[in-house]
Every structure is written in C-alpha cells, then in structure tokens.
C-alpha cells in the first residue's frame, strides 16, 4: 500500500507560484492602517493627509525599483485587474487606430480571456505559439506586427513552467517598428506577476509601456496589484467613480494593501539576487535526486539554468503513467502541497494550455506536477518530499494500466491491452 504516514508530518508548501504567505514584517507594516491610520487619503484633514503621504511614499519607492516616476504607478485589486486594465484600457481607448493585438498562447487567463472577449467585440488577436520550452521570440513578435497593431502583451515569466521571456528584446523590436513606421503604436504590456520579486524590473531597460504586478506572489497581501503605465498616453479606466489613482482607477485606496505591497516588494527586491542563488541550488538538488529515485520523468519548460532563462523556484515535471491530480491528493495527505497541469483540476477538463502550447502530448500534460519553491523552503523540506514522493509514484503506477514510452512518438500499449 501507500507509504506509512510520518509521525513527524510537516507542511511542505511548494506552490509559491499560486500564492505566498504574508511576510511578518509586511503584516506589521500593514496593521496600523486598519485601525490607527484609517483616514481616507482623499480627505484634507490631518489624518487623511498622513495616509496620503504614506501612499505617496509607497508609490515613490515602487517607482524607484521600476526606474520611473511615482505617477506611473496605479494601484488596483490584483494581477487580474491590472492585466484587464492594461488590455481593455488600451483596446477601448485606441480602437480607432487599429484593432489588432499580439499576445502568446502561454499567457495567464487574465490576459487570454480578456483578448478572447475583445475578439467577440471585433478585435483581431494573434496568439504566438512558443517553442517547446515556452519561449516566444522577438522575431516572432516582429513578424506579427501590423500597421493596425495597437497592443502587444507578452508575460515576463511564465507561472507554470517558469520560462523567462525576452521582454527587452521584444521591446527593442517594437521601438524599431515605431520609429520606422513613424507611429506610437503598438503599446507594449508585460504581465510580471511571477517576476516581480525575482527579476530586474527596470522599465527603461525592458522598454515596456505597461507592466502588471501583484502582492500575493511576493509575500505581500492578496487583493492588491499594480499597473505601471508610462506617462504620455492614455488608457480607458475599467472602474470609474472618484478621482483616485490619477483618475485611472476609482475607489478609496486599499491602504493596508498598498503599504503591504510596497513593503513586500522592497524586501523581495533587496533579497532577490541572494535568494535566487539559493533557490537555484536547492532546485538543482531536488531535480537531480528525483531523477535518481523515479524512472520515466521529464522536465517541462526550459533547462534549469539562471534567472535569464527560468524562474529560480520553478520545477515542472511530468511523471509518466500516472495522473497528476491523483498524485497531488496523495501528496497532500503527507503534507506536501504542489500543483498540477492535469485536466482534472480544471473546470474545463482540458489539461494546462501552457503545456499543450509547448507541444507536450496530452498524456504527458495529464501527469504534470509543478513544484514552486519559496522563502520557507529548506533542504529538509526537499528531503521530506524525496522520502515520500517516489513511493507514492510507485504505488500509483502499480494500479495504472498505462505504460508510456519516454519518447512521445513511440507510445504503444502492452499486448494485453491491444485489440
């Protein structure tokens, strides 16, 4: 049967790409803004002004890391709203100049579904197909550009397989196009939710006009996001009402969220180089040991290399002959938490669109497991997983009728299954 449950059962959280816990320092920074500093930043009296001052400071600090001005930072409710605001905002404001958008097949649904919505409203969207590692090239973007292209949206780093896209190269191609065509279009948006605590976010180096981040991926609170919007062009707001956020996003500021985001972002950016090195080493150990202990596994996404290639915390693998959701549920019983690209965890019952876009066969996508390491992950955690995962896999393979070949092209079933 399954391995005996440990007496020292621990929680090994390996789903940091889904969300992260709030850092203690972040929570401490936030708490006074629920009670003590409760004033409305739009108010003129002193308790309002004090809070307004705190928002300004937060904005300035975030802008500093992005190499931009404070008035380019728009707070909103999260990554999804930020993505939506960028895409709908450009599309609705600039539709008279063109109705073509370029994006990729590996984007987050907050981008993809927004684009699909626009298609229903008469826009044309080009979905670039990545290579087998999830990479979209600057050349692909260049070749898809048209005189009526008003927006390009390519993510900075992929949430499922960790691919880091060549945003600066794509940005340069767009600049060249604008110069050659004598136009200000297309605007360039990047979803940097997964990259915000990990990569260099200087928007001048990246040549982006719009950039999305959120709090819940970098040890900040949920319910807070940021859209960076370069000065000098307008987008249509999604939410209207008061004059907050430079009239780009109405509604009383989510003060604890703003303070929490700023603190979390600051901590993450300060520690990122050191933390990236630690995670890359830990992940290399994890993958090396997994390969020793489990047969028939494959790495999904780019090579486990530096931060210019793949997010340091991401390990996405396919374990052949077993189904991801079943594995996930058994691992959960042992306190190990991770995620899968299997169909069974999705509402649509289709496996991960990212893995399929990379050309992974369906049967491999169904057996995919994503481990995303984080600040709390220790070597002991990885060793704990290495103790239980191989035995659970062995058990699931024992009850599985499937015997896939590691080479996707020559998969046949055993003789007793052939008709």
């Amino acid at each position: 049967m399954f391995p005996i449950k440990p007496t020292d059962k621990r929680l090994v959280y390996l789903d940091h790409a889904a969300t992260t816990p709030v850092h203690k320092e972040v929570l401490d920074a936030m708490l006074p803004y629920f009670t003590e500093h409760f004033g409305n930043p739009s108010a003129l009296y002193h308790i309002g002004r004090e809070v307004k001052n705190a928002v300004d400071q937060a904005r300035k600090m975030i802008a500093g890391y992005l190499g931009t001005q404070a008035d380019s930072i728009i707070f909103c409710s999260g990554g999804t709203e930020s993505d939506n605001m960028a895409i709908f905002g450009v599309a609705k404001k600039h539709a008279h100049k063109g109705k073509h958008i370029i994006t990729s097949e590996v984007e987050h649904h907050a981008v993809l579904h927004a684009c699909e919505q626009l298609e229903k409203e008469g826009f044309e969207v080009t979905y670039l197909r990545p290579d087998e590692t999830g990479l979209v090239s600057a050349t692909q973007v260049k070749e898809a550009l048209r005189p009526d292209t008003i927006l390009v949206s390519i993510m900075y780093a992929n949430n499922e397989i960790g691919t880091v896209e060549p945003i600066a190269d794509i940005g340069r191609e767009i600049l060249k196009w604008r110069k050659a065509e004598g136009t200000v279009y297309p605007y360039f948006h990047t979803d940097a939710c997964q990259a915000a605590g990990v990569l260099d976010l200087n928007v001048e180096k990246l040549h982006v006009d719009l950039l999305t981040m959120n709090g819940s991926k970098l040890y900040g609170p949920k319910g807070i996001g940021v859209l960076y919007k370069r000065r000098g062009f307008a987008i249509q707001p999604l939410i209207v009402g008061g004059a907050q956020e430079f009239r780009m996003r109405a509604g009383t500021e989510h003060m604890p969220g703003i303070i929490g985001f700023a603190k979390a972002f600051d901590l993450a950016q300060k520690k990122r180089v050191e933390e990236n090195t630690r995670l890359i080493e830990l992940r290399a150990y994890f993958w090396k040991e997994l390969q020793k202990r489990i047969s028939k596994i494959r790495l999904n996404g780019p090579e486990l290399d530096g931060v210019d290639v793949r997010l340091p915390n991401n390990l996405n693998i396919s374990i052949l002959d077993i189904e991801g959701e079943a594995l996930l549920l058994y691992l959960d019983e042992y306190g190990i938490v991770c995620s899968t690209g299997s169909a069974c965890t999705s509402e649509s019952l289709d496996p991960s669109h990212v893995l399929l876009a990379c050309g992974l066969p369906y049967e491999y996508a169904h057996g995919s497991i994503r481990f995303t390491l984080g600040a709390s992950t220790s070597k002991e955690d990885i060793d704990y997983v290495l103790t239980y995962l191989p035995a659970i896999v062995e058990k699931l393979r024992e009850i599985s009728p499937v015997r896939l070949s590691q080479n996707p092209t020559d998969n046949t079933h055993p003789t007793y299954l052939q008709r």
Binding site: D321, E323, A326, L329, C344, P361, G367, I399, S400
Partner: protein, 215 residues
C-alpha cells in the same frame, strides 16, 4: 425515478470528496497489480479511455459459466481521485453478496456508483461513467468469447451534424466534460461552426445529457 445520488459541490467542506470516496481513494479494493495481468486468468476484459483523455480504465472479470455470476473482478485505473474511487467501488459492487449476474451488472448505472460513493463533485461525474463503460466493454468481451453475439450491447451513434460528422455520442462526451452550450461543445470537439440546421438538435441533446448526468 430512484433516489438521486447526492452531488457535492466545491463549497461542500474542507475536502472536495465524501469520506467514502476518500476511503476508496486511499485504500483501493481489488486492484490487479501491474505485471500480474497475465497470471490472473480473467474470463473477460474491458477497457475504456486513454491517457491522452486523462482517464483510462481496465476491468477484468471472472465469470461462472453456469450461473453467469461475476465471481471476481480486478481493475487498473489511470486517472484522478474520483476515477480511482469509482472503479474501486464498482469492483466491490460487482462481487459483493456472491456476485452479480451479468444481466444485473449491465443494469449498473453511473448514478448507482455515485450513490454508493455518497456523491461526487459535479465535474467528476464523467469518472463514474467511465467505470460503467469499462464494465460494459468487459461483459461484451465475454459475450463475444462465448459466442453470444446477440447479447452484445452496441452503443449506436447517430450522426447529428453531417457536415462536421458529429454524433450524439460526441455530444454526450462533450457534456460529460463540462460543455453546456453549442459553442462549448464545438470547442471540446475542436470543430468549426456547426451546420445551422443541426443546431436545434445539438441544443436538445445538450439539454438531454445535462439532465441525465447533472439533473
């Protein structure tokens, strides 16, 4: 109309599945271990699904020739928690109390498996349907081997959209995979726009299968 099986939704508590599903998931009954297939002298075998679809099930039966009772049942499943639990429960149902006759076994409906599991989440219903289909395939295998060709149950498919060659079976599968509109059925089947004349019938079938499995 019998008593409807309870459907759990994902607001139903800390664990998405019932205790019964959990029990069968963590302690699956009547497994035929990989590598022991040839040694197990089964009288009939049925399989359904494929790893590409996300589920594959194989059921082996031992059948008493005289009484037509299922004396033993073993299985293997590639699939999620619900798929493993429903095949396990089905195997228990087939051989308990001295075993079902083939006629009784053919009457087992996905809803019966679900009822014994104290319900499944809505979008997991197709898992129990697969167990039922694997069983039917195994029983057909027996009928074929014993020369009882007239007893083979054939799932006839009727072409609904002649242009795209969509059958009622395709629509059933699409509904089981969560499609609720003509548009979603097309997306599931990866086909273009349906023949306008076929749309009313496709819609009717979507309603029929939605009610059958989720009603």
């Amino acid at each position: 109309m019998g008593q409807e099986a309870k459907i759990r939704d994902n607001q139903g508590g800390s664990w998405l599945y019932s205790d019964m599903v959990k029990d069968h998931f963590f302690n699956p009954r009547n497994i035929l271990k990989a590598g022991e297939e040839d040694a197990y002298a089964a009288d009939a075998m049925g399989r359904v699904g494929s790893p590409a679809c996300g589920d594959e099930m194989v059921i082996w039966l031992k059948i008493d020739k005289e009484t037509e009772k299922i004396t033993d049942c073993k299985w293997q499943t590639f699939g999620c928690g619900s798929a493993i639990a429903s095949t396990s429960m089905l195997s228990v149902m087939l051989i308990e109390d001295g075993g079902m006759t083939l006629d009784e076994a053919l009457k087992v409906k996905p809803q019966d498996i679900m009822k014994r599991l104290d319900g499944l989440p809505n979008r997991k219903i197709h898992c129990s349907v697969l167990g039922d289909k694997a069983l039917q395939s195994a029983i057909n295998d027996w009928f074929r081997k014993t020369g009882q060709h007239d007893r083979i149950v054939v799932q006839g498919a009727k072409v609904i959209d002649a242009t795209l060659n969509i059958t009622d079976k395709d629509i059933e599968e699409a509904v089981l995979e969560g499609a609720q509109t003509v548009e979603e059925v097309q997306k599931k089947l990866k086909v273009g726009a349906a023949n306008p004349e076929a749309i009313p019938e496709i819609e009717q079938l979507i309603r029929f299968y939605s009610e059958k499995y989720y009603g």
